[in-house]
Amino acid sequence: MMGWSVMRTQVLLPLVIALTATLFVAGSAAGTATVIRGDAKAGEAIYSRCVACHSLAQDRTGPRHCGVIGRRAGSVSGFGYSDAMKRSKLVWNVKTLDRFIQNPMRTVPGTAMGYAGIADQQERADLIAYLAQANSSAVCRP
């Protein structure tokens, strides 16, 4: 039976992230930081770039995205990950996803995801907000 603490992590964490997905990035002035808030609606449109290889609920060329927030990289059972991803020791959260999506092949050299990445910080924040929100949608419920 799923313990409350586990359930809280699996259910509430993505919800909280969906509502507040933010990235703190260094500002141009010393000692300042710019807060990038993700917009899940805008992120849904950006997700259309991913659907040749990914879907929320199914493993395809890439692994499923349901449950990605909080998941250890390379851990979807039965999916054929690259050795590099399996060895990466990453756990997917806003920060690690942002870094990976910005430049997958630099973040995890040897990853099978042959994609240059998304350079725009706002677009990455939007996409991550969408992934977090989608995790609590009907399509991701077992």
Partner: protein, 192 residues
């Protein structure tokens, strides 16, 4: 349902088919000319060759899935002529892409991925011809983005050029499918 009219006002569908058929031949012919017999591929350094083969394998995997998706669409009984003919033509292009990618991966010393025994598609949501077209359009748009994201990564510029050639073909598929849905075939000046 709306289609572009391509020159031949008396028979626009025939004109479109002729245009697509010829342009497809030109694209795939160029890509094959770029890669088949390109000894520079085998001469690449090991690390660069390995990286390029990995990118191509991801593309091949997506192409094989697209072939399967069009097969599901063609066999669904939901597509009416001439849309059915278009779907079969597009599937043929994906087969050509897959064939070229597999041969190129082998030339790079890699092992090409094979088609899966089974693909899972959201068939429960495909109830009309428009549903099938929208699903296919989503895959094609995703393919454009995937190739766009791959083009800058290749160590071998001939591979980047060939990937861009395939990207152009996928973009045409996407535009035609959108047009068939009555949507703007080219909704923006840039792709991302």
């Amino acid at each position: 349902m709306s289609f572009l009219i391509l020159g031949n006002a008396s028979n626009p569908l025939a004109a479109r088919r002729a245009f697509l058929g010829k342009s497809g031949l030109v694209l795939s012919g160029t890509a094959v000319a770029l890669l088949a017999g390109n000894d520079a591929l085998a001469a690449q350094s090991g690390k660069s060759r390995e990286g390029d083969a990995r990118i191509l394998n991801a593309a091949l995997s997506a192409e094989l899935e697209a072939i399967a998706a069009y097969q599901v669409g063609a066999e669904s009984g939901l597509l009416q002529k001439p849309v059915l003919d278009l779907a079969v033509m597009f599937q043929g292009h994906h087969k050509e892409h897959a064939d070229l990618l597999a041969k190129t991966i082998a030339k790079l010393g890699g092992k090409a991925v094979s088609a899966k025994d089974k693909y899972v598609f959201p068939v429960e949501t495909l109830k009309t011809q428009a549903d099938v077209l929208r699903f296919a359009a989503g895959l094609e748009k995703g393919a454009v983005s995937a190739y766009l994201g791959a083009v800058p990564l290749f160590g071998n510029r001939d591979l980047a050029k060939a990937a861009a050639s395939i990207l152009g073909d996928e973009a045409m598929h996407w535009a035609i499918l959108r047009n068939a849905l009555g949507e703007s075939p080219v909704p923006s000046a840039f792709m991302s």
